[in-house]
């Protein structure tokens, strides 16, 4: 009896194994056919075949469509790249961005931040910068024992602004003490995902970096006034041709163990080791330096040797970096974790190896015991704090490094992150009020906003937090290549004729403008954030409006003058108003929604397209049906667009994705433009990596160089 059962079980398992491997084989087959298919050229769609009864959808040519729709943008962006002077370049990029926004292929929606917040932390005591990881360096935080009132905050803001202009120093500690606050030396915060590794160069995920950045210093850093200051590099110089940077490493900075015992001195070799390790690990950080640092691409992808890479320690305390071509914003990239050092001797002692193949082999064999998240002893630290405890779903603790080279700037003694997955916001709010946590962002959905209003804290202490530089946006698919996933799921309900019609309409600029001006961002946002907060985090241009500013006055090629100190966003506003008067680019307003303009653009589109398309045009919007917020948002988008434009003209079809994998597969995780299974997709976002608008705008470059062109269905 037993034997029969065992035989049956084995047979069952064998069957499942076989069927699963068949499935796996089937999948690999489809992927190879897909790759061969994309190399065949496809014919370009010509426009109107008048009233053809049998329309067949054929995907157009990416190059041709890109030239038609974003050709002007590309020209302006190329001109900007050639500019030698930073300020001149900013002006030209403003023009390029205006062209991009006017083309109505993408619609910026929201950003992060912009929430009502109550807090005990003094204004801008952490580094103020819009890119890189320095804003997670919390060593300079001034934390009070009480909430900071609105009046006090206004004073602090005033003092900060003066200090930035050079008028006095910013001393929030003295100010708060004079107002009767006492200063707290330990900071508590919440976290949801713990770091999975302590090796800063082997990860690109935010949840890892946020915590580890407090334990490792880079060459340079931003301070709380937004200025770049030397960190482990005391000074640096650039060669005349702008290709070689030489850094002098500070003497007397050490690596410390978790307990605070000095392990080894920080030398230039540590930076070289960190860079090579980062390229070996290929954890997602390397693309930033790909094509920027000399020899990096070859080392990464073509078997080049390390000797040819332009990142070398030329002395015990001298580091030399060589670039492929001059880039004046290169220094601003150095705050990124891909330029962090590692302690070379410690790395080697823990089984670390250098060299791509050697590293891959050692990693696969599991012999590297460096930077393991379960063992704080597997890493050494040279930053303001030492990591003492990491319990993944419970608690993470860092304590002040008594041997830190910049010890006096460190104002807090410890940071503790406590696990919180948001399930009990009432308790979290109670903890915040009791002083366990220093502050929190209030939200309507989880009721904390209502609690704060009820007990008066909202009126006394709340302020709207800064918006960040990450921009989320919505894309329109100009050259749709997929109408269902390979499994048959998430299938578009359009007929062939409708597919052709949508394509034709999408390539018409007035039609696109009608759509983007009919998309009510505020209502869309309100579904998630509630009525009170629906405007505060809206973004209306791609780049952060205050990303850069002019340091000197500039005059553009048409003679218009901008004064010194003009923000980038103001310039973009000037140029875009000349092209489309319904766009307002500043943050925090519903800057694109204009029902009347939408209707008039639609009328123009109808006149231009005439009989070549059948109205209504169908637009597919994919949503994830197990997520109630997505369902509601999809419904809101549909209702508003159809109400504004009329459902006899445009119908938004909601296409259901029943699993999150399906939802991502045709949208966010599509590997190229052809794989995009949508007509409108509002889930993309981008954050900057260094201080130049090209970090955003390059994502829409043509010929596949732009990472985001796949969101508009191209390349």
């Amino acid at each position: 009896m037993k034997k029969i059962a065992i035989v049956l079980l084995v047979a069952l398992m064998a069957f499942t194994v076989v069927s699963c491997s068949k499935k796996a084989a089937a999948e690999t087959k489809t992927s190879t056919t897909a790759t061969t298919a994309t190399t065949t050229t496809s014919t370009s769609t010509s426009t109107a075949t008048t009233a053809a009864a049998e329309k067949k959808y054929v995907r157009g040519d990416d190059e041709a469509i890109y030239a038609q729709v974003l050709g002007q943008y590309e020209q302006l962006a190329a001109a900007a790249k050639k500019a030698s002077d930073d300020d001149a370049r900013f002006v030209l990029y403003a023009q390029a961005e205006a062209a991009l926004l006017d083309s109505a292929v993408m619609l910026p929606t929201t950003t992060q931040g912009g929430a009502y917040t109550i807090s005990r932390i003094a204004y801008r005591t952490v580094p103020y910068v819009n890119w890189g990881n320095d804003d997670d360096r919390w060593y300079g935080m001034i934390i009070s024992s009480d909430f900071i009132s609105k009046a006090e905050r206004a004073d602090l803001i005033r003092m900060w602004n003066s200090a930035v202009k050079g008028d006095g120093t910013y001393d929030p500690e003295a100010y708060l003490k004079s107002k009767g606050h006492s200063i707290v030396k330990d900071y508590r915060y919440t976290f949801t995902t713990a770091p999975v590794t302590l090796d800063t160069l082997n990860t690109s995920s935010q949840s890892d970096t946020e915590i580890l950045v407090n334990t490792v210093d880079n060459l340079v850093q931003y301070n709380n006034l937004g200025q770049m200051i030397p960190a482990l590099a005391e000074s640096w110089s650039v060669s005349a041709d702008g290709l070689t940077y030489t850094f002098n490493i500070r003497k007397g900075a050490y690596w410390y163990t978790s307990e605070g015992r000095a392990y080894a001195e920080v030398t230039a070799e540590d930076f070289e080791a960190g860079f090579q390790h980062m390229l070996d690990a290929e954890a997602g950080l390397e693309w930033l330096v790909d094509g920027v640092v000399k020899g990096a691409s070859e080392y990464l992808y073509q078997g080049g040797s390390w000797a040819d890479v332009g990142y070398k320690a030329t002395g015990r305390y001298t580091l030399q970096i060589t670039l492929e071509k001059p880039a004046s914003y290169f220094i601003t990239m150095l705050t990124y974790s891909c330029f962090s050092p590692i302690c070379k001797s410690f790395f080697l002692s823990r089984g670390g190896v250098f060299g791509k193949a050697e590293y891959a082999a050692a990693y696969a064999a599991g012999s590297i015991q460096f930077g393991l998240a379960t063992d704080v002893a597997s890493q050494v630290y040279n930053g303001a704090f030492l990591l003492q405890k990491l319990n993944s779903d419970s608690e993470i603790v860092v304590v002040k490094n008594q041997g830190y080279w910049n010890k006096n700037a460190v104002k807090i003694n410890s940071i503790t992150w406590v696990y919180n997955n948001g399930e009990n916001p009432t308790q979290l709010y109670a903890d915040v009020v009791n002083g366990v946590y220093a502050g929190m962002a209030l939200s309507e959905a989880n009721g904390t906003l209502a609690l704060a209003k009820a007990d008066g804290n909202f009126d006394k202490y709340s302020y709207v937090s800064d918006t960040t530089s990450t921009s989320y946006f919505c894309g329109l698919n100009l050259n749709r290549g997929t109408f269902a996933l390979s499994s048959g799921a998430v299938k578009s309900q359009k007929t062939e004729a409708q597919k052709v019609d949508t394509q034709t309409a999408m390539l018409n600029k007035n039609f696109r403008k009608a759509i983007v001006h009919a998309f009510d961002k505020a209502t869309y946002n309100a579904v998630q954030r509630g009525e009170d907060l629906k405007l505060t985090n809206l973004r209306n241009m791609y780049t952060h409006p205050e990303f850069v500013q002019l340091s000197t006055a500039q005059v553009d090629q048409d003679g218009h003058a901008f004064s010194a100190g003009t923000m980038y966003g103001e310039m973009v506003q000037y140029y875009v108003s000349k092209l489309d008067s319904s766009i307002t680019v500043k943050d925090g307003v519903n800057g694109w929604f204009d029902a009347d303009a939408a209707k008039s653009y639609l009328a123009k589109a109808k006149a231009e397209l005439g009989d070549s398309v059948q109205w209504p045009i169908h637009i597919d919007n994919v949503y994830y049906s197990a997520n109630s917020i997505q369902v509601a948002q999809a419904q809101a988008v549909k209702q508003v667009i159809e109400a504004t434009l009329g459902s006899e003209n445009v119908v938004v079809d909601l296409v259901e994705a029943t699993t999150s994998a399906d939802f991502y597969a045709g949208g966010y995780r599509a590997s190229n433009g052809e794989a995009g299974n949508f007509d409108i997709f509002y889930g993309s976002g981008w954050g900057p990596d260094f201080g130049d608008p090209c970090t955003y705008l390059d994502t829409f470059n043509g010929a596949g160089a732009g990472y985001m062109t796949k969101v508009i269905g191209l390349f």
């Binding site: 790759t35 307990e259 078997g303 990693y363 991502y664």
Partner: protein, 505 residues
Amino acid sequence: MTVMLLVFSLIDRKVIFQTDDVWNKRSNNERTIYEYTQYQKYGYLEFDNYATFVQQKYRGLYGDSYTKNPDFIRDMAVVQKPSEYLENESVKEFMAKYSAKGYNIVYLEPLTYNNGRVKPGGTGYLIASRERSVFLRLWDYLKGFITIETVNDVKDPELTDRYIRIEKDPYSGFFALVGSGTTHKYLVYFDGRFPFMHWNWIHLNLGVSYTKYRGQQITDVINQPTGELDTRLVQYPALVGTDKWDESAVDFHKLAYNNGELSEMDKELFNDKYTVVTYKRKGLSMLENSFVIGLIATVFAYLLGIPLGVFNARNKDKLGDKLGMWYIIFITSVPALAYIFLFAAIGTTLFKLPYAFANAEVKILAYILPIISLTLPHMGSLMMWMRRYMIDQMNSDYVKFARAEGMSEGEIFSQHIARNAIIPIVHGIPANILACLVGAIITERVYAVPGVGNLLTNAINGHDNGIIVACTVFYTSLSIIALILGDLLMAKYDPRISFETKGGR
């Protein structure tokens, strides 16, 4: 184990990329190569890249300057030419070599736009891959289950003096078995901590985590204490006997070999190359946390639930019974999270008990709310079942007879009814005790207790197949033990039940 076979074969391996940022940023061929790399790491397949093959070939021929050799450059570049690569000598060698070994040759064509420019991630690749059967992977897992340290563990050619011998241990005052060339220095040692004798020469491995604790042994993860560093006055090995003491939490019995170079500080503090340290910590490990909370909660549940069930049965339909019934209904129909939050709210506001485990200053207090939250539903269920069994017994003939005989109600209840009713409950005791180790998943999540229950749920959400397999192995073994114990206990308790066939059938 059959369970592991099921897990290994049925879970689609593509799932490990769902939350992988790196995979997401890559496209086309690069994404495929990344997938192959990750699959290899987790033992699903083996693959070799043509580029590595060529590199090794030319390094062997020309030494370190092979990168400048024109033949090398040509052979590397030919992969990007789909119409030519098959004629290339190195390519033919590569394909022949690997086909002979049974590998599949996969050519990932370079992907370009119409103007010839390469698409992102569109570089061509040539690789050879071979799937590893599920049984091989299972065999790997089982093989690695137990590892024993030997003097040849350390691959450092400079280490010539390899031995295992008994030495005097300066840290415990006793003798210890010390090795040179083994991974750990102290193979067997004694100290004042239970169970007094410890060994490093043998390790039990439940597997390696894939995503959450990337590449670490899961046994380590669940056995490490989770508290503060346990700092004491100690002397580093090179300073033993001098008057230099340090404050440190280093556990000198767990020193491991340093395969690289020693730093200057290390040379001052250590005598040999065993300088890789781990720290001692206070507090309980994840396993212990779950067990403690679960065990105490179970004990309370039994201590409260059974008498209450009996009480309810005796006072059937009276006020006490009705209150009990409302309690059971409350616990069953209100979602677990809700009543846990309710009790937590009462506990934190009225009794000032700490909520999040990490926020408690006095760690013992941090255990109170989780234990209460775990006891409540358990108690309710025990109450309900005990009452049911007792009422069933109350109507039996033997009870009527005992009453007729003149036994008091109390005697009847305790000596007859309770004993019979408790049989099925007894069956469940071992299962309940061992279920503590599963950790109350909801409770641990709510109070952020570092425990084993949390580990499994998060592993499943994070698609960490390694942890899932390890936990499954763990629980399966425990459940089997619990089942057998339960059956045995029940049979022992009630002589009428037997597991062998009786005579006469």
